[in-house]
Symmetry: C2
Subunit: 459 residues, 2 copies
């Protein structure tokens, strides 16, 4: 193992140069205008996999964007690790808030990243993180230390709901058969307190539309006499959460996992630096569901957030219009035992019920995802914990994260294997935001931890 | 007068062709991208004025878009009518709702306009209406029947708050001195019940911004633990109007004119066809301030409307973001004795007070305007009423409209003359909306009414 880590140490600069190549590709899956870039990115990932020494590298066509596959099978009697990642990225808007263009990566030091961080869309989510696996595989191949079989899949639709992945996994069950799935698409609690993610929230995402009059109206001639869809939508959104931070949707909490007082006490041991948290996002105070800590609100409790709203005139200057329609995008994070189907249905029913008499409302579901939990008394968790403890030289704790990776539940069902969420980002990395970045320290600790996980797991 | 009306009759088709030339110019004052079109439109208006026989035609530079001036002074002992109009138009968006491109005028028959209507942005507001004055002047010149002096000003910034007009009027007080101002930028109650507009509401227009976290956040990692500016803004908008349709801003109704029961009874005599009203805008029911009719809500009562709202991700698909900021455009229509300064200040104070602890709010005022009333016992009103009764062959009633033409109050103050609002549109003409149109019947009745007004007023 020492020689693998030495090899990694010697090639550090090269890894950055190569990652920059990937980061320069604007592989935005949500926007059809970037189709060619997404496809180009798939080809580049395949090239890197081949160069790393993987066999049978393929850019597998799907109904959507391709899935890149590669493998190194050394002994059928050894366990097999399936590595998953995604090469697509979130749209970069609002563009004007980026210090430099989102697809022109650069390195800059920050308070949290004194060794420097890579700034670019996708640097942490997920190009910088899945690329660690390609480089770790390469290091194990070059030093002849690969301790088990490895398969890799990198998809191009994670940011739009992994629409083609489930069919692909079902059709390739044999090819993808494995003992464990390893994913780096999450963050650790902090560089001082590394963690393995043992829980993820699920997701229900809907778009809503409120229609009042059948055309835009002049607000001077009609104002005050007709339902204004912006006001109606505002009232409806306001009514979705009460003064205690509770979501008012009927039956919303019916199936929510009750986390024991012991577990809550355990999880609140994580140094919850509220002052730092508030400062990092420029707030004087935080708020949320009554009776829970910030840590709990963002991990073991379900939430509802409006992710976008629009209607009427939103250009420069003034226009006195009452729009015919107003729209919003609303997402709910789910916890164990809630399902996206259940919650989307409950939301739809409730939202339709909230609508006043003189408007029409429409609810369109987007993608959803199941919540996921990896118990901390499993072999999978222990292999990851030990690997990271060696790499970081610190105790590693289990940690439930607020985000969603809906595919973990699907993997478990189809491939009958647990996913290990060994991500290395920080929650301050601004993923999905302007100036996304990924610490160099985290990038290297990740590349080191991966061969250690393989070694621990293959034991 | 008979020969003037005959002349108009003979030139009907030509008027349409000429108006189409003006309607093809996309003179959108709100969007700097259309600057050249606005300037081109000013030149064309000047050309039409000259061809009509006006003297001293000028395209007068201002700090913003130019004001076109022209005059025909025949005798200092005769009264002088100042005609006002505007050649700029509203932005045409949402473009996809137009049946044909907004700057390619065409004629089509509709249920309300069995003789046909001109469809184009600006057809009713205000190119089709100010052009009637140029053609009426031309007819009086050609038939040598001009009964008094006339001055014309046509501005290019009405849709963005007439920013340069007040300075221009102040600097040219002598040049613009007049006995009455005649404006066609309003609508009649219906073709069956023509009206002269005797009241207009004022306007206070603001843009608001709510800032939560100092950057966009991932809703999985932060959702439920920080104030989401979209939710906060929605709650604040919801709180601006109570369940009885009353605006909750402190002191909002302090100065509102109390309209007598007699006047309310008189105004409600106008055939208020609720079924037609609802059908024309596709609603099953209407709503508004409790205790008032639709007619009252849109004329003698002040109102508040959100004209635009935006924040977060508003593109295709799903993005799980909590935006740093959310925005809205909000306008209030004012009635006599309210002033835009007073109401903008009260709004700002109240909105800042409504803001919860952990967000910052910003209120930016756009243009405002004073309400206006023309008593029905004046010479000005009577001249207009008689002119329209001759042209339409029907009784003409006074009518208070809900819209705003802020400059009427300014004219009264600087030029010490009353404005007569003799507009000919219908409220179903979709001004400020897709498929704006102006009835041919209304266009011709307007051109006929104007010389009759001149004659009545000069008597």
């Amino acid at each position: 193992m020492k020689e693998t880590l030495n090899y990694i140490q010697e090639n550090k600069q090269l890894y950055i140069d190569e990652l920059f190549e990937l980061l320069r590709i604007a592989s935005i899956s949500a926007d059809p205008a970037y189709k060619d870039e997404v496809l180009k990115c798939a080809d580049e990932v395949a090239r890197f996999l081949e160069n790393a020494g993987a066999d049978n590298v393929e850019v597998c066509a799907t109904k959507g964007y391709p899935i890149v596959y590669g493998e190194k099978l050394i002994d059928p009697n050894l366990p097999t690790v399936l590595v998953y990642g995604h090469y697509d990225v979130q749209p970069p808007d609002p563009l004007e808030l980026w210090k430099k263009p989102p697809f022109e990566p650069y390195i800059e030091k920050t308070e949290i990243h004194p060794e420097g961080a890579i700034f670019a869309r996708g640097s942490a989510d997920d190009k910088g993180q899945f690329f660690m696996h390609i480089k770790a595989l390469e290091a194990m191949m070059k030093t002849n230390t690969l301790p088990c079989n490895v398969k890799c899949i990198f998809e191009g639709e994670e940011e739009v709901g992994s629409k083609s992945l489930e069919a692909f996994v079902n059709e390739n069950k044999e090819k993808l058969s494995c003992d464990v799935i390893l994913i780096s698409d999450t963050h650790i609690y902090s560089n001082e307190q590394p963690t393995v993610t043992t829980g993820l929230r699920g997701l229900s995402y809907v778009e809503v539309e409120v229609e009042g009059p059948n055309r835009d109206l002049h607000s001077g001639l009609y104002g005050g006499a007709v339902p204004n869809p912006i006001h109606v939508l505002s009232r409806m959104i306001a009514n979705l959460i009460d003064d205690n931070g509770h979501i008012t949707i009927e039956g919303f909490y019916d199936n929510v996992e009750t986390v024991s007082e012991e577990e809550r006490a355990e999880m609140n041991k994580l140094k919850d630096d509220q002052e730092h948290f508030k400062k990092s996002i420029g707030l004087n105070g935080v708020e949320g569901e009554k009776g829970y800590t910030t840590l709990e609100r963002t991990s073991i409790r379900p939430t509802l957030d409006c992710n976008g709203i629009w209607g009427g005139y939103i250009g420069e200057g003034a226009k006195t219009v009452i729009p015919s329609k107003a729209f919003a995008k609303i997402s709910m994070r789910l916890v164990p035992y809630q399902t996206p189907e259940e919650i989307t249905e409950k939301f739809t029913k409730y939202f339709e019920k909230l609508a006043p008499a003189n408007v029409k409302v429409k609810v369109t579901p987007h993608h959803g995802g199941m919540p996921y939990v990896l118990p901390s008394d499993t072999k999978e968790f222990r292999a990851a914990k030990a690997a990271m403890e060696t790499a970081f030289g610190k105790e590693v704790l289990p940690y439930r994260s607020g985000g969603s990776i809906p595919i973990t539940a699907m993997f478990e069902q189809v491939l009958e294997a647990k996913s290990v969420l060994m991500g290395f980002g920080l929650d301050s990395d601004a993923i999905h935001s302007p100036n996304e970045h990924y610490g160099l320290y985290n990038f290297y600790k990740g590349i080191e931890s991966i061969p250690l996980f393989f070694e621990n797991y293959a034991k």
